[in-house]
Symmetry: C2
Amino acid sequence: MSTGPAFKRLPRAVREQQMLDAAVKVFSRRGFHAASMDEIAEDAGISKPMVYAYLGTKEELFVACLHREGTRMMQAIAGAAAPDLPADERLWRGLRAFFGFVGAYRDGWAVLYRQARGEQPFATELATMRARLVEVVAGMLDHALRAEGREVAGADLEVVAYALVGATESLADWLADHPEADAEKTATRMMNVAWLGAGQLLSGVTWCPPTD
Amino acid sequence: MSTGPAFKRLPRAVREQQMLDAAVKVFSRRGFHAASMDEIAEDAGISKPMVYAYLGTKEELFVACLHREGTRMMQAIAGAAAPDLPADERLWRGLRAFFGFVGAYRDGWAVLYRQARGEQPFATELATMRARLVEVVAGMLDHALRAEGREVAGADLEVVAYALVGATESLADWLADHPEADAEKTATRMMNVAWLGAGQLLSGVTWCPPTD
DNA sequence: GAGCATACCTACTCGTGCGTAGGGTTACGC
DNA sequence: GCGTAACCCTACGCACGAGTAGGTATGCTC
């Protein structure tokens, strides 16, 4: 007369992914501190001790989320940026891949990143990832410059790259908040700002503060 | 034989400012949730019930911080952007004022904003402020465009403005993390990226995705 | 079908930190 | 000098949520 187990027993690997899905969802909705392990467990359709057994403490769980989403993003971008292409082509492909990723994982990405910014333990983790991106962009600009036989101080390039990455993240946030918006179009907009600006700089045009 | 009161009795207005100073400091160091009212009180040289008596609950206290810093920032920028100047001049002055502000209040500003991003109750408050900035920048671009007799869809302008604001905030974060960096120089860098990019767009140059 | 590992649960402990009750002390008006 | 209002404190109640103890059921191997 027993109805049997209401929910199936599943292999570890599957449950871990379900837990991570739930964790990303709840963390993004509530923020790291406000999220409760109980809610994550419930959302994953499992009880709390299972989460601790598989993914460890709350911090470790968050790091696992960060890691999975970060890896997904890097993979999405990695293929796009073949180093032998011209700089504008590389930038365009990179941006398209990036916004494509954000568009697909709106919920996950943007808010995870918004969360990780504030909390000390994770901010460094995030900063490392961003540093990698900045380095790639700076390297690309540098490459393009050398191809024209000119050179710019590394620090300057890095700051420019930093600004570009910041602008991109900002538009990614915007995209995440506007479900109706189109990822491809957003990428084009970003490319306009980034490339026409970078293009000018690459051609040696420089703006100087007025001497008043 | 009594040594008298170790700490002076001070009028409300003074104490409130001390509390806000302490709150900004602690919130920025620890983040909203990790910050404790006890630590804030201790740092302000006062006991906890006083904080509740004057500034209300933790959320209300944080909002008060956000409000004070936000107002300071807006005031810093407000004077700089006289509407009758040419667009590049206005942008330059705005940026200089902005980075000057961030440079002066490194501790307070950047981290307050980093915090407010994540937590739902404050994210909207912040979004409103940012929206005002975006509007100002978009208005400036629009003005410059009309002066040349051209016109661009409002939505497009807004996205471009959004990207510029994002890039600027990103460099502000960078500035806040690099105490040795110079605010003026950072503003110049930002102006290079923003204006040379915006300048191209204003001259009607547009980048189109390659048809492959 | 006995043994064992793995999946899974209910029901707790315990620290932490928000918010408050209730009372003391200094200044200031009259 | 005396009331009254503002300033300020020590000490608590209480809820919430991280992490755990200890036990049950299911599938897999031989």
